[in-house]
Amino acid sequence: MREAAFYLAGAGAVFFSLLMLFQRGLYAAAACLLGALLQTGALLYLAGSPLVGFLQVVICSGGVMTLVVVAVVSAPRKAGAGGDPAMWAAGSVPRPLAAGVVLFLAAEAALAAAGAMSSAGASGALDARVGAVLFGPYALATEAAALLLFLAALALVSGREREAR
């Protein structure tokens, strides 16, 4: 049952991703991403970790929301003199596409070769121990990640400030 739900959510995520890939508009693409990320949250939930699922929804969806807002605010109102920006990157697609396909096939091959892994999800009991890990042995990493976020924020702020000057 859970597996079916997982597949369903997975299908949803992939669907939204595909949708995003082929959306021309920025807002629409962002909305699709939001959908995909929400589905991912569900996936994570179904994978046995409601906490992470929740965080995914909060952080990433929140992040994406921010993105959308910021994009609305900052993106040039009108397209530049060069006209509407092209949807696809120009250039020779086949060569890079081949690289991507090879990469994908290789990853798939790796998966197939390692396919014997159990597909059983875990219980929610893990979530309870995550906190202990995060602020126990992983405290250092947590600190570092926090510092990183701090620096990123600093970048955002100082950048605005500087440009304001």
């Binding site: 790796a110 602020f135 126990g136």
Partner: protein, 457 residues
């Protein structure tokens, strides 16, 4: 909680803690109005020096699931911190942000060096990269188109991060742990390859390097020097760590060839460059190739930490050479290759120092660049990698074309313009130090040798 505190009380991370405190102090100093950029720079230099000094007292061994410090990690921290000194000393920004970001990069590199887990590696890598993207945007060179380089840098780097993340996931899926330990099976190999490409990206090996010339060209010279030394040694360290996860993996087997071809590619491209900073960017690609070749040779011989001395020495010499070259660009104000014409007759001392650096970069004895290259080649020959060595040797021949070409322009041509008066202060002194380092490291490595031996154990 006690566990966490034990962690901080362990002496393994004292240098990193110093840097982090320095970083926080820097940020704090930004809050108060009266404090200038000079203070933050001083703070940065002091924390770097203190961190270096503390390296003497750091212990060795594991410190929990995330941290472990071995001789290699300790040694490489020297590279990160020393490599960062010139940029601090030659910065002339008036606020605290660049200094904070620089310290952030150093901290990230330091964490990378002391990590025992891929998670820590990832965080360290990001802590290293994100400030670097911002720095490129923040400290552009005079002629750079605004922000283009930083965006390119960001997207390339983010792709590499994601690849690293996927590799990490594969590694985890294969071994059930994020510890820096070999992962079994084909998934492990795939994960290693993915993470390896991220490391090669940071190092600027072909074909992962295309961002690099753009970024170095449009960064302030001192920053380019920093990126090509501290950041690059961190990437080198990462690559070594990854290679030691699978000394007989496909990644390790590919490294010598990637390195040799990168060296050749970088040299061939550098030959064509007109803008000096871009030229040195490609030269840096070429040198990265030699480093990758060295890692390949090191891996082929079983990744013995004590045998990493040639790589460390290369990093050390390259630190002097690259920082020196970019400092010279900063000092002389030359931007085009043609501007160098007759510089030797106009400004004798900087030109002579630059010539020494160029000879060292080209690997001409008796400079340090020669000995570093020799040691790498030697390791490769020991590993039986004759063909890659031959290709890399060819690359140094091509490299000679532009290094010598610059000397030729400086000394053999008549000056076409009047160079501005060179500034006084820290930059000329640093240039002297770098040139002296590049020259003397070729002659006096045994001074280092005993110290290195102690360090690596």
């Amino acid at each position: 909680m006690r566990e966490a505190l034990a962690f901080f009380s362990a002496p393994l991370l004292w240098p990193q803690l110093t840097l982090a405190s320095g970083l926080l102090c820097c940020l704090a100093s930004g809050m108060s109005r009266g404090v200038t950029g000079a203070a933050s720079r001083t703070l940065g230099v002091v924390s770097l020096l203190v961190a270096l000094w503390m390296l003497l007292f750091t212990g060795r061994g594991p410190g929990g699931p995330l941290v472990s410090l071995d001789g290699l990690g300790a040694a490489w921290q020297i590279l990160f911190n020393v490599g960062a000194l010139p940029v601090f000393l030659s910065l002339d920004e008036d606020d605290e942000v660049p200094a904070s970001l620089l310290l952030g990069v150093c901290l990230g590199a330091g964490l990378l060096a002391a990590s025992a887990s891929l998670l820590m590696v990832f965080i360290g890598l990001e802590l290293l990269s994100l400030p670097a993207y911002l720095l490129v945007a923040r400290l552009p060179s005079a002629s750079a188109p605004p922000h283009e380089a930083s965006v390119k840098y960001f997207f390339s780097g983010a792709l590499a991060s994601c690849l690293f993340l996927l590799g990490m996931a594969f590694h985890y899926a294969s071994s059930g742990s994020l510890a820096l330990a070999p992962a079994p099976g084909i998934m492990g190999a795939a994960g290693l390859a993915l993470m390896g490409s991220a490391a090669l990206f940071k190092l600027g090996a072909a074909p992962f390097h295309f961002w690099l010339p753009d970024v170095y060209e449009s960064s302030a010279p001192a920053l380019a020097g920093f990126l090509s030394t501290s950041v690059k040694s961190a990437a080198l360290f990462l690559l070594m760590r990854l290679a030691s996860l699978g000394p007989d993996s496909a990644l390790s087997a590919a490294l010598p060839w990637i390195g040799a071809l990168t060296a050749l590619y970088g040299s061939l491209l550098a030959l064509r460059q007109v803008r000096l900073q871009r030229l040195f960017a490609y030269s840096s690609v070429s040198h990265a190739g030699i480093m990758v070749l060295g890692v390949g040779a090191w891996a082929a011989q079983g990744c013995d930490p004590a045998a990493a001395a040639p790589l460390f020495f290369y990093g050390l010499v390259y630190l002097c050479m690259s920082n020196g070259a970019f400092l010279f660009i900063r000092l002389s104000g030359l931007s085009q290759r043609g501007d160098a014409a007759g510089y030797g007759t106009m400004r004798a001392a900087p030109a002579a120092l630059f010539a020494v650096l160029l000879l060292s970069l080209a690997g001409i004895p008796p400079t340090g660049g020669f000995l570093a290259k020799l040691l790498i080649f030697w390791e490769a020959v020991k590993a039986g990698l004759y063909l890659p060595v031959a290709v890399a040797a060819l690359a140094s021949l091509v490299g000679l074309g532009y290094y010598l070409g610059l000397i030729r322009d400086m000394y053999f041509d008549e000056p076409k313009w009047r160079s501005p008066e060179t500034e006084t202060g820290a930059v000329p002194v640093l240039l002297w130090v770098c040139a002296a380092g590049a020259a003397l490291l070729g002659v006096l490595p045994w001074v280092l040798k005993s110290y290195l031996e102690r360090l690596f154990l």
